[in-house]
């Protein structure tokens, strides 16, 4: 059993599990950290960005033309090109061998088109409906933002190792930029997602009959799940982004994950030192403070997940602070469908939200906010938005990387005033580096990272509860974060056997497959004559033909009756069993003329002494030794007498 770890970022997981005869891909996360090395793509022409100074290393003597590829903003250097993404290491193995892809949440789907398109992939993809729809919205938004303002040229010269090492940090630390890829197309997205088969929680799905896969709620976002992959005698659990906090999704289910042979754990919180509740409080306070001072608030966000919670908490807080009249805008190409879908996925929501449907009310208050005009959503800043826009306001828009999307426009618009605030809630990007190409910026920047996935304390508690025999985690979780080197509480600490992985690792999972389930054909089963060997346990000899199809084993009666006779009669062996009755044995010996018999009890059984034959018989559980000084005839006789005293099968 092998586990291939394709992703370098534990929060964007991508594994391949080879188990029994199947090859299963677990998640398909896309690391978008590479985006930060690129210049933002403004919606309207930005003279500031286009006038940034071109940059090239001082001592560069190479042949490639680098002049138009890099631009400097302050001390940072950015690539002036279409943005590129870091893919999982898909070249480790042949993707056409992948039988099934299991997706656990919408954020872990973004690399899917790279996996399924043009790769020879012909397997199945399983995901819950909200994961599919959420993933689709995220991908469509991404494609829309990237394709809306296409960059004319592609920069590749800077990726040359000679140049790369001359660049300033952090761009010089970029890992294997030659492997970075540009964004997929909408066609690829549709083609890829068309292969997804929707599943429900706790629905059992067989993969070629070899294993059964089951999704169970992980409590992280709508439709997010953890997977258990089970054969008849082995169980592997994949715990992806999970949350034990009470938010809008269905709560996390623990029982399907208990007592596994291997538990693969990923996507723990990236902000282990902060409490999400406190951060939501900080977010609301900062927003209210900015609005009271007459400023605007910009929230770079994804069109899903925490954003819905932010709408809810913020609207309540704004009411409470007397700011009900301040509008909230949500701008995304998928804003409409995102808001609509969230309110129709009632079955995937927490009990509190689910019960609202029966009132009947919309599960999320943003439906009401939209109806009352407090939350206004638009696909973009053009068109009707400009009629409704007024200031001060709260603006939710993408993309959180600040490299494309409408957010770029609003930073350009509001960045010059210290009265405005940009609040970062998403944790995918370091906010200071995200802001770097916009410097100098007067607008206040506040970091309120809200990551509801498991923190280390919760993860350790969960591991204690689930009791896996082996735990597989990223080696990053084994030591404190770099910024908090003394926080020894920010690690996974467990008594379970733990296997660490690094990006690109191929792990041999220590599972010994001992048993396999075999079904017996009814006809053959009827012919068996079981013998009870102890109360409740009966055994029988069986001979048949083992037929294996779709990883299912069936023992059938031999098709040739002759061979059946041969099998049962000519080749028949008898098995003796049972406990030796010493009285019977002594009387049998007497019957065979051996009357001088002395029996002693020993610690392990009995010792039978035949003084006249100078022979000792040591009888112990499971073994008998006859010590007869080379008298082979006597030994065989004694053996036969002893076997007569045992039961036969």
């Amino acid at each position: 059993m092998k586990l291939y770890c394709l992703s370098g970022e534990p929060s964007k997981p991508c594994f391949i599990l080879k188990f029994k005869t199947t090859t299963i891909m677990l998640d398909s996360g896309l690391d978008m950290g590479s985006l930060l090395n690129f210049l933002p793509v403004p919606l309207v022409h930005s003279s500031r960005l286009s006038s940034l100074k071109k940059w090239k290393p001082n001592d560069y003597r190479g042949s490639g033309k680098i002049e138009n590829e890099l631009r400097a903003c302050g001390t940072n250097v950015f690539v002036d090109s279409a943005p590129e993404f870091t893919l999982p290491q898909l070249d480790i193995l042949d993707l056409s061998e992948v039988d099934v892809i299991l997706l656990s949440n919408s954020y872990s789907t973004l690399a899917l088109p790279y996996v399924t398109e043009y790769s020879g992939f012909k397997g199945m993809i399983y995901a819950t409906e909200p994961t599919l729809q959420g993933g689709r919205q995220l991908m469509e938004e991404l494609v829309h933002y990237v394709e809306r303002m296409p960059k004319g040229s592609t920069a590749n010269v800077w990726k040359n190792a000679d140049i790369l090492r001359c660049l300033p940090a952090p761009i010089k630390d970029a890992v294997n930029p030659l492997a970075w890829k540009q964004c997929y197309s909408l066609h690829d997205v549709n083609s890829s997602l068309a292969k997804v088969q929707m599943v429900g929680f706790n629905e059992k799905l067989t993969v070629f009959g070899a294993v059964t896969v089951t999704a169970s709620s992980s409590g992280y976002c709508i439709g997010s799940c953890n997977w258990s992959i089970q054969s008849d005698y082995e169980k592997i659990c994949y715990v992806a982004a999970s949350s034990t906090l009470t938010t809008h999704p269905q709560p996390m289910e623990h029982s399907p994950l208990r007592n596994s042979d291997v538990m693969i754990m990923s996507q723990l919180t990236r902000t282990p030192t902060v409490n999400p509740d406190a951060m939501i409080g900080e977010f609301c306070m900062t927003t209210a403070l900015t609005l009271r001072n007459g400023g605007n608030v910009l929230v770079p966000c994804y069109p899903s997940g925490v954003t819905y919670d932010l709408f809810e908490c913020l609207s309540v807080h704004m009411d409470s602070c007397g700011l009900s009249q301040v509008p909230m805008f949500f701008i995304s190409p998928v804003a409409d469908s995102s808001l609509a879908y969230s309110n129709i996925f009632a079955e995937w929501l927490s009990q509190g939200k689910k019960s609202k449907v029966y009132l009947p009310e919309a599960p999320f208050p943003h439906a009401e906010l939209v109806n009352t005009g407090r939350l206004k959503h638009y696909p973009g800043i053009h068109g009707p938005f400009s009629d409704e826009f007024r200031s001060p306001c709260v603006m939710f828009t993408g993309h959180p990387s600040l490299r494309f999307g409408d957010v770029v426009h609003f930073i350009e618009l509001w960045g010059k005033s210290s009265g405005n605030t940009i609040i970062f809630t998403e944790t995918d990007f370091p906010y200071l580096y995200a802001l770097a190409p916009f410097q100098p910026l007067l607008m206040k920047a506040v970091h309120c990272p809200i990551d509801t996935s498991l923190n280390f304390g919760q993860a350790n508690k969960l591991i204690r509860d689930l009791k896996p025999r082996h735990l597989v985690i990223s080696e990053r979780y084994s030591h404190p974060p770099a910024l908090h080197p003394h926080r020894n509480d920010l690690v996974i600490e467990t008594d379970q056997k733990t296997i660490m992985y690094k990006p690109g690792s191929v792990l041999n999972l220590p599972i010994k497959r001992t048993y396999e389930r075999v079904e017996i054909e009814p006809e053959l089963a009827a012919s068996l004559v079981p013998t009870e060997v102890k109360p409740g346990v009966a055994v029988a000899m069986v001979a048949g033909t083992l037929v294996t199809k779709d990883n299912k084993h069936v023992l059938k009666a031999p098709s040739d009756p002759k061979s059946k006779v041969d099998g049962l009669e000519s080749g028949r062996r008898y098995y003796v069993w049972g406990e030796l009755d010493m009285q019977e044995f002594v009387s049998k010996l007497a019957q065979h003329g051996i009357t001088d018999v002395k029996v002693e009890d020993s610690a392990a059984g009995h010792i039978v002494h035949l003084p006249s034959d100078d022979t000792l018989i040591q009888i112990e559980e499971g073994s008998t030794h006859i010590i007869c000084e080379g008298n082979e005839g006597l030994r065989v006789r004694l053996k036969d007498i002893l076997l007569q005293c045992l039961s036969k099968l």
Partner: protein, 765 residues
């Protein structure tokens, strides 16, 4: 007004007394149909009578008492705690009359009281305890009674309970009885109980497992010592030391804490505060080697567990707070500062090494107690006139407060305590000239505080927004004269954000913000800057406040807005050239408010107007723009001057509002309106606008509030019609008088009981 006075006044009415007796006479004979609550009422009524009137004078009265009590002690009724409580209270009150002790014995009340010493109801236990105490004291002091020796038997019974009962609650109550008795008759007790035995028993009880018994025994020790200071067999200091060494640190500290109470202070000459400080020193790790002193080692050992550590630290802080309240400095400011750091998650300094940090971290009770002490310390230094200065850790403590205040998930009560501390801290900093830029850290501290307060003014919890906006108001009220503070308020927009809080969604915050706006408006620099920053005029401000008075859904906010307008008028300097007619119109409309306190506030506003109009020779500043004021400015002949003033009051709606309020449903509003009208009427009489004896018999209704521009003649006619003296007398009756004159209530109760047989099922729907 006290109930007793009114009760006495009521009893002077013979008719009422007769009625009450008649009712009480009926009660025992009305048999079981009466509800238990009627018995409770009857016994309480009797108690009230007995408090002022000897009910044992005649056989008939004695019979009423006996019958009522006997009826009440029947099993069914006696099971009701309020009956037991009322009977014990009645008997205790009765004991001041001759023959009462005999009656109590006859009614077997001693037995009942002893049984109730561990009653499940604390009220019953308390009244039984007081009855037993009173019985003993009466028996000792009142020799008129034939049973004056009863105290000996009672003391012996109590002593038996104390020695041999297994009922902890009962023993605790007996200890309380002894505490009361030692105050009054310690010599008598010591005649019956051997003092050595007594002290030995107390010593044992102090060390018992029951916290309540231990506490009461310790208190009794102090009471004993106070009553018998010469008794050398009880040395309190040794006792405290012994308790500490035997691991009863919390008992010892509680004893020390009690010794700080005023009544016991003379028993100890300062040593209790040394003891109280010791645990704090250990917890803070400032004590280098605990093994140096056995006592310190004993304390350290006893607080090795979390619960014990928290309990001892809590007692210790309570004691320190007591000392500080008495103006004494227990010299533990630095330790207190360290303790606060230990409780704070944000603090990552040297305190991390303390082994007690894990116990104390984010413990709200300890945090609050420590903050209260810190507040007391600041007050102490603030009131210090000896000029001893402030401790070295002062700046650090202020820094701690500001740092911690920034923590997002802080409990709202802790935020409030921190803000309470910060106010005297800033005052202290001003007093000691620490705010200037030359003093290290302070500018940074103030900057950080400014940013934090900004956020707290927009906090998720309204309680925090409320306490923060109040804090800003207080700072402005007391420190705005200081240039640095004044600039600091403006730099961090605390004035504009406070103004924004007037629009808050929570009424308490709006009310707090309105009070703060009042303080802000007193400082011209801040106020003018606020208006410039927010781009609003004074007229806008007043209009917004008037809107709150007219439309706010919460009375609390409307009252605060009203107070602000009233204060501005009283100060007379904020409403120049303002929409004065809008103010009057709003005030007239507010006369009809649903909230009686708002209406009272409106009357206070009109009261101020009347005072200013009638008392000043010159026109008040706020009236300059009024049309009627033109008449006042020399155009009118002198003899007509008063009439013009009244005319002006009529024209602004003041007079009609007063007349409307005279008929308000709320008594206090009617009373206030009557008082104002009486003053006005008297002035009108003095100035000859109305005739003294010419009260018209007209039965015309009083004008309604909706009527505007009431003419002066109508008003004068109206007040002449009104018998204001009678109205005032009627409206001045306290509601207590109804409570003490329960005839109507009695009739209702008895009437309802008589209707039992009738079909009195009423369909309420």
């Amino acid at each position: 007004m006290s109930t007793t006075n009114h009760g006495a006044a009521t009893l002077t009415c013979p008719q009422l007394l007769i009625a009450q007796k008649r009712f009480l006479h009926q009660v025992p004979h009305t048999s079981s149909v009466l509800d238990t609550q009627v018995y409770v009422f009857a016994v309480r009524l009797m108690g009230q009578l007995v408090a002022n009137y000897d009910m044992l004078q005649t056989p008939e009265e004695k019979y009423i008492v006996t019958a009522c009590v006997q009826k009440a002690t029947e099993a069914e009724k006696w099971s009701e705690p309020s009956i037991r409580n009322a009977v014990f209270t009645l008997l205790r009150l009765m004991l001041k009359y001759k023959g009462a002790l005999d009656l109590v014995i006859k009614l077997d009340a001693i037995h009942l009281a002893f049984e109730s010493l561990s009653d499940p109801s604390l009220f019953v236990t308390g009244s039984a305890q007081k009855l037993v105490t009173k019985l003993i004291i009466t028996s000792v002091t009142d020799h008129r009674q034939s049973t004056s020796e009863i105290h000996k038997s009672l003391i012996k019974q109590l002593w038996v309970v104390l020695r041999s009962s297994s009922d902890v609650a009962k023993k605790a109550t007996v200890l309380k009885i002894f505490q009361d008795l030692f105050h009054e008759i310690s010599n008598v007790i010591l005649e019956e109980v051997n003092s050595l035995d007594f002290l030995q028993l107390l010593n044992k009880m102090i060390r018992c497992d029951s916290a309540v018994l231990s506490r009461e025994a310790a208190t009794l020790c102090l009471v004993y010592k106070r009553s018998n200071p010469a008794d050398s067999s009880l040395d309190l200091r040794s006792e405290v030391c012994n308790l500490m060494h035997s691991g009863h640190v919390h008992v010892a500290l509680n004893l020390c804490r009690q010794l700080l109470l005023r009544e016991y202070q003379h028993l100890a000459d300062g040593w209790p505060q040394d003891f109280l400080r010791q645990p704090l020193i250990i917890v803070c790790g400032t004590f280098i080697n605990p093994l140096e002193s056995g006592q310190f080692a004993a304390i350290a050992k006893s607080i090795s567990k979390k619960s014990a550590c928290l309990e001892v630290t809590g007692i210790c802080l309570g004691g320190i707070e007591q000392l500080l309240q008495q103006g004494k400095d227990p010299c533990s400011f630095a330790a207190l500062h360290t303790l606060l750091q230990l409780t704070s998650q944000e603090c990552q300094c040297d305190v991390n090494h303390s082994q007690y940090r894990k116990f104390l971290l984010r413990q709200p009770k300890i945090q609050k107690a420590a903050l209260r002490c810190l507040h007391q310390y600041y007050q102490l230094y603030l009131n210090d006139e000896t000029g001893i200065g402030i401790p070295d850790a002062f700046v650090g403590s202020a820094q701690y407060l500001v740092d911690s205040l920034g923590c997002v998930d802080l409990d709202v009560t802790i935020v409030s305590e921190m803000l309470k501390c910060l106010l005297p801290a800033i005052k202290l900093a001003i007093c000691h000239s620490l705010l200037s830029a030359e003093i290290q850290m302070w500018p940074e501290v103030l900057d950080l505080l400014g940013g934090t307060l900004q956020k707290r003014l927009c906090d998720m919890h309204w309680e925090t927004r409320d306490s923060t906006v109040e804090f800003v108001g207080k700072i402005c009220q007391s420190c705005a004269d200081d240039t640095t503070v004044n600039m600091w308020i403006r730099k961090h927009n605390l004035h504009t954000l406070s103004w924004e809080c007037v629009k808050d969604g929570e009424s308490y915050v709006r009310a707090g913000a309105l009070a703060t706006v009042g303080h802000l408006s007193r400082d011209t620099t801040i106020w003018e800057n606020m208006k410039i920053v927010k781009d609003i005029s004074q007229e806008d401000v007043v209009h917004h406040i008037l809107t709150i008075i007219s439309t706010d859904t919460e009375g609390f906010a409307r009252r605060a807005a009203l107070d602000l307008i009233t204060r501005w008028y009283k100060d007379g300097n904020q409403l120049h050239a303002q929409p004065i007619n809008d103010v009057y119109r709003t005030m007239v409309a507010a006369t009809k408010d649903f909230d009686w306190e708002v209406k009272l506030g409106v009357l206070t506003f009109w009261g101020n107007i009347i005072d200013q109009v009638l008392s000043n020779d010159t026109l008040p500043s706020y009236a300059i723009n009024l049309e009627t004021s033109k008449k006042f400015k020399g155009v009118v002949p002198e003899e007509k001057e008063f009439e013009t003033k009244v005319e002006m009051l009529c024209s602004i709606g003041c007079c009609q509002a007063l007349l409307f309020s005279v008929e308000d449903y709320e008594q206090s509003v009617r009373k206030k309106a009557c008082e104002l009208l009486t003053t006005l009427k008297a002035k009108c009489l003095d100035n000859g606008l109305i005739q003294g004896n010419s009260r018209s018999k007209s039965s015309d209704p009083l004008p309604t509030c909706g009527e505007i521009n009431m003419t002066t003649p109508i008003f004068l006619d109206s007040i002449q019609q009104l018998d204001l003296e009678a109205l005032l007398a009627e409206n001045s009756k306290s509601c207590d008088s109804y409570e003490n004159n329960p005839m109507d209530l009695l009739d209702d109760i008895l009437a309802s009981q008589r209707q039992d047989e009738e079909d009195n099922a009423i369909d309420c729907y």
